[in-house]
């Protein structure tokens, strides 16, 4: 126990500074009540798992999305934004629609990764759409294969008008 505490003291705070400009506001399309805190729901629409792991990585001590007011919630009913990864695999589309429908308004859709933006390498596959934009109205696009965690954070902060 003491060893672990000592280790923590030696290590210090790992979380990266820079995105923590809670007071600074720039222009944003979002209603003001969403600019400080954004609740996100992840939706895998046939991704290769890479983008999903980068979204998971946002929760580690280096990025710690919660200190920026961004959090992942378990239910679409609690979510403001739907973060979609993957090109939109056909067999999941109905469920994806239902997830979107279950969200309370106002709601936004973020396409995370090249596949979600335009189908990426999976463009033209028989059981896949060319990007989630064909199915849901996309508001923010984050390209990359997969986008790095800092790219995702930056895109979300920009969306919130914090950057």
């Amino acid at each position: 126990m003491w060893n672990l505490l000592l280790r923590k003291l030696k290590m210090g705070n790992l979380t990266e500074k820079g995105g923590n400009s809670l007071t600074q506001q720039k222009s944003s399309k979002l209603p003001s009540s969403f600019r400080q805190s954004l609740q996100a729901r992840h939706l895998d629409c046939g991704s290769c798992n890479g983008c999903d792991w980068e979204l998971t990585a946002l929760g580690n001590s280096f990025y710690d999305h919660q200190h920026l007011g961004i959090d992942f919630v378990a239910s679409p009913r609690h979510a403001d934004v739907l973060m979609c990864t993957g090109p939109g695999s056909t067999q999941l589309l109905m469920a994806a629609h239902e997830t979107y429908e279950a969200m309370a308004k106002p709601k936004w859709v973020v396409a995370v990764g090249d596949c979600a933006v335009d189908g990426g390498v999976f463009k033209g596959a028989y059981a896949s759409e060319n990007g989630i934009g064909n199915v849901l109205p996309v508001d923010v696009k984050i390209p990359g294969c997969p986008p790095k965690p800092e790219d995702i954070i930056n895109a979300l902060l920009e969306f919130m008008g914090k950057r």
Partner: protein, 532 residues
């Protein structure tokens, strides 16, 4: 018992069995589909028992061979791989899954994607294609041209077994789960809290990658194959490149082998450490999870810094590796890895000595050794059930023979065993990386630039070739056939997750529903490379 070759040569002294090729490590034998069950039974009775690498159906009607079935088995003691080829299948073949249940899914997949019937198969439900696709939609047949079938797809109810009795409930979960997870539908049949039976319906992320790569060049193919699975990117790419190099009959130089081994071990380390932390998330043990994800992030940052990609994408190319680091970089990389290894040993006791965590993990989700063998389970999941099947030990490839890899085995088959296998393998991998990077420091001059460009090699057309790599989740196999223009004719991806998923539902009955996330995380399978 006769040796394998003698048995096949003397098979009913019948002309239907023909030994096409028999080398020291690989053999190809033409058989008729009718005789496959008998030959497979004979093979499975041999000791040590062979493992399956892949089962491929291919539409070769254009070559006047009908539909062909390729079954690749590996005989561990001999390090010999046998490809059984059954040509000229019209629309049905006798099932093998009643003899070897590991082939259950592959045969159902052949029914879905080729419209071939596996006669006598115990499960007639569709697998890869969910109910609701138009009639006569067999996308992997060569005469299929992409139409608007995707638009016509209407979701129909999934077919699950009925179960009746006092107090039996069904708990449907998914396909979309709470958290950042891939999609899959689970149907729990429960009495009170204990699970009686579990059905898993996967393939929600099925995109049709095996069809997509057909007709593509080798390089385009690699680009896609690397994206079959996010976290086993390198293993898939490497297995694909091995298959390509076999077709080109190219031997890669030692410096390339060295760097491929280093990359494969880096992938293992970041995955294993992440998975160890992730298991803590399965029981809501946040401190353990935080430490795991911290170390994983540090390792992925090393990947980015030294190899340009957090998931090591684009590092392996046919015939070589993209770049070879200088000896100064090797030294820095090694120092940083050793720091992370020390840090790992510092936080690990927190998990291993945590009573609450132990109580959740020990005796939970037991995979019986006999089930693991029958279902063809691979990777840490099999080794936790006492099966020493690490492909790095079974087969001489990359620099693993020199590293003298031993399968890390645990006996109990529960969540705790799967954790301990990963812990031991992580320690081993750090040790291997130290040896390998020390060699890298001495020999950073021998680069792959001296090689002739790979594109000048001619690939043998219409020949089957496979590549196989031990990924963090188990053995990944890529099977490849190209046409005369060196375009991909058929590529079959049998990932470790595909081999292991059918075994997961067997481990759940008897446990309570809240243990399922933990059991699932202890297997840590990927949905994407299973669904493709």
């Amino acid at each position: 018992m006769l040796g394998l070759r003698e048995y096949l040569q003397n098979f009913h002294s019948c002309p239907s069995v023909e030994i096409v090729e028999w080398k020291k490590q690989e053999g190809t034998v033409d058989v008729s589909a009718r005789d496959l069950p008998e030959i497979l039974s004979y093979c499975l009775a041999m000791r040590p028992r062979p493992i399956w690498l892949t089962h491929v159906v291919n539409d070769e009607r254009q070559l006047e061979r009908g539909f062909c079935l390729y079954l690749v088995l590996h005989f561990p003691g001999l390090d010999f791989s046998l490809t059984l080829v059954a040509k000229g299948i019209n629309n049905e073949f006798p099932t093998l899954s009643s003899i070897f249940p590991a082939l259950n899914w592959s045969e159902r997949e052949a029914q879905d994607l080729f419209g071939l019937q596996a006669v006598g198969h115990p499960d007639t439900r569709s697998l890869v294609l969910h109910p609701g696709w138009p009639q006569g939609f067999y996308p992997l047949r060569k005469d299929y041209k992409r139409g608007d079938e995707g638009k016509q797809f209407k979701r129909a109810p999934l077919v699950f077994p009925e179960m009746h009795g006092d107090g039996i409930f069904q708990v449907p979960v998914g396909p979309i789960h709470a958290g950042i997870i891939e999609p899959g539908h689970f149907r729990f049949y429960v009495i009170g809290e204990p699970v009686l039976h579990l059905e898993a319906q996967l393939f929600y992320t099925h995109k049709g990658i095996e069809k997509l790569v057909e007709g593509r060049s080798i390089d385009e193919g690699l680009h896609i194959i690397e994206r079959v699975c996010g976290v086993c990117t390198l293993s898939h790419g490497l297995a694909y490149c091995e298959a390509v190099e076999k077709l080109a009959k190219v031997e890669v130089p030692r410096s390339v082998l060295l760097w491929r081994t280093i990359l494969a071990e880096l992938e293992r380390v970041y995955n294993h450490i992440g998975d160890i932390g992730n298991m803590c998330a399965g029981v809501g043990f946040a401190v353990g999870n935080a430490n795991g994800s911290q170390s994983k992030e540090k390792l992925q940052r090393l990947n980015l810094e030294f190899f340009g990609h957090r998931f090591l994408r684009g590092m392996v190319v046919p015939g070589g590796v993209k770049s070879i680091s200088s000896s100064k970089d090797c030294q820095t990389l090694l120092n940083r890895l050793l720091e992370i290894a020390l840090d790992f040993e510092e936080w690990l006791p927190l998990l291993l000595h945590h009573d609450g965590f132990r109580q959740r993990a020990v005796t939970t989700g037991v995979l019986k050794p006999e089930d693991a063998v029958e279902m063809g389970v691979t990777g840490p999941a099999a080794r936790a059930s006492g099966i020493a099947n690490d492909w790095r030990e079974l087969h001489a490839y990359l620099l693993y023979p020199e590293l003298n890899v031993q399968s890390m085995v645990e006996e109990d088959g529960d969540v705790w065993s799967r954790l301990m296998v990963r812990v031991k393998e992580t320690r081993e991998s750090f040790r291997f990386l130290e040896t390998l990077l020390n060699e890298g420091m001495e020999k950073s001059e021998g680069t792959n630039e001296a090689l002739i460009p790979f594109s000048s090699h001619k690939l043998s057309p219409w020949q089957p070739a496979w590549g196989c790599v031990e990924s963090p989740r188990g053995t990944d196999v890529v099977w490849l056939m190209v046409d005369e223009e060196a375009k991909i004719y058929r590529c079959r991806i049998r990932s470790a997750s595909y081999a292991n998923w059918p075994a997961v539902p067997l481990t759940v009955p008897g446990n309570i529903v809240p243990d399922f996330p933990l059991i699932n995380k202890s297997f840590e399978l990927c949905y994407s490379c299973c669904d493709r």
